[in-house]
Symmetry: C2
Amino acid sequence: MSNEVVWDRPEPPSKPSPTPLSRELIVRAAIELADSGGLDEVSIRKVAAALNAGPMRLYGYVETKDELLDLMVDEVYGEITLPAPGTEWRAALTRIAHGIREAAKRHPWFIDLLGGRPHRGPNSLAYMEASLATLDGRPEFPTIDHVLGAVGTVMAFVRGAVGNEIAETREEQSSGLTEEQWQAASGPYMGRMLATGKFPTLAKVMYDAEHTSAGPWFDTGLSYVLDGIATRHTPA
Amino acid sequence: MSNEVVWDRPEPPSKPSPTPLSRELIVRAAIELADSGGLDEVSIRKVAAALNAGPMRLYGYVETKDELLDLMVDEVYGEITLPAPGTEWRAALTRIAHGIREAAKRHPWFIDLLGGRPHRGPNSLAYMEASLATLDGRPEFPTIDHVLGAVGTVMAFVRGAVGNEIAETREEQSSGLTEEQWQAASGPYMGRMLATGKFPTLAKVMYDAEHTSAGPWFDTGLSYVLDGIATRHTPA
DNA sequence: GTATCGCTCAATACACTGTATCGCAGTGAG
DNA sequence: CTCACTGCGATACAGTGTATTGAGCGATAC
C-alpha cells in the first residue's frame, strides 16, 4: 500500500453507498416535502438533497418528474381505506368520497395532481375497482354504463368539492388568518363592488350567510348527489 | 435644427411607441398563446415577445404572473352567456353549467386555473351573482345558505366533471389518436393488471362498456345533481 | 495478478422560468 | 439649453427539468 495514512485515502465511497436509494424512499421523501411546503417544494434537486444524493441520481429510479408525481399520487391512493365489499351502496360511496377528502386534508397537493394525467397505478386501480364494484351487479344498475355514470358523477363532485375546500383553507392560512382577516384585506375592493348594487345576492351572502366557507357543505352536497342517483335508480 | 436628414434623426421612438400596450392587449395575447399551446406557453417572455415588447415591459401593467393568469380567467368568465333573469331554475343552472363546459372546451387551460385562487374579477363576480340569483328568493330555498349549498354542489360537480373531460381529451390528442390507440399503448400493462383478476369490474368496463370516456356523461351527471337538489327542495 | 469492460453515480451544461435592479434614452419643464 | 424625471430595456440572479459527459469502481477475462 502506497498511501498509508488515512487522509491520503479518500473515504471508500463504498457501494452500499451513503444512501441506498429506492423508489419507495424517493417517493416518501417527495411526499414529505410536499406535505410540509407545498408542491413547489418538490423539485428533483430538493428531493435528491433530502436523500443526500445528487439530482441526477434520481433519474435511475424515475424517468421524469411527472413520473415521480404519479408515484406520489398512487401512494396516497394507497392510504385510503376502502369500504368492505358488500357494504350498502350509499354508505360505501360515502366512505369512498370521504376517503379522498381525508387524503386531501393530509396531503393538500393531492387534489391538484388528481385529474392532471390519468391514474393507472395499482392503488388507484384498486380504488376505482372498489368504487365501481360498489354498484356493479345491483339490479338498480342494470348495465356497466349506469354504474360508470353514477360513480363518475360522485367522483366529479368529490373532485370539485374537495378542490374548492382545499383552495379555501390554503388561502386562509396563506393570506394570514381567518376569513374576517381576508374580508378586511380585499375589503375595499369588494366593498365597492357590492356597493354598486349589481350583486345583490352576493351581498346577501356576505352579510347574511352563516358560513361563507365551502367546508361544511361537503356532506350536504354529497347527499344531494346520492339522492339524485337514488331517484333515478330506485330498487325495483 | 442641426440634423436635417431623416436618417440622422433616429425615428422618434415616439411615446405612442412601437406597440402601445394595455392590459387588454396583454391578456388577449396570453390567451391566444394558451389556447394554441397550452398553459406552459404562457410565460412573461413569450407573451411580451408576441407583443414585440421586452419582458419587463409587462410589469408595468401587471404586478405578477399570477395576476396575469387571474385576468385571463376573468376574461373567459366574461365570455360565458348567462341565463336571462327569471329563467326556471333547473334550466338556468343547466345553462350556467354548460357555460363553464363550453368555455373550457374553447380554452382547455381555463379549468386548470379555476379553483387555484379565488376569483374576484368583475366577470367572475357577475357569474357567481347570476348563479346564486337563480335560486335566491324562491320559496323552496328559504335561506341564503340553502342557495349556497345547492349552487356550490352544482359548481363542484361541474368543476370535477369538466376537469375529467378535459384531461381526457388532452390525453387523447397528446398520446396520439383515439382511445383504441391508447389501449394499445398502455395495453400490455393494463392487460397484465386486468389478467390478475383483481379488478373484475374494471375489466367489465374495458370490455363491455359502450363509452369508456367521460365525455357523454356530463348531462347525465348534471341531471343526477339537479334531481338530488330538487328532491330536497320540492316546491311546497 | 493484471488489464479491460461495463456500469453507476455525479458534475457540468443548457435552455428556460419569474422577477429585482439598474442605467440610459427621450420628454417635458424651467 | 439644460436638467430632472419617467418609463423602458438590458442585465442579473436564483431557480427549474433534464441531456451529456466523465470519472471511479467492481466484476470479469486472461
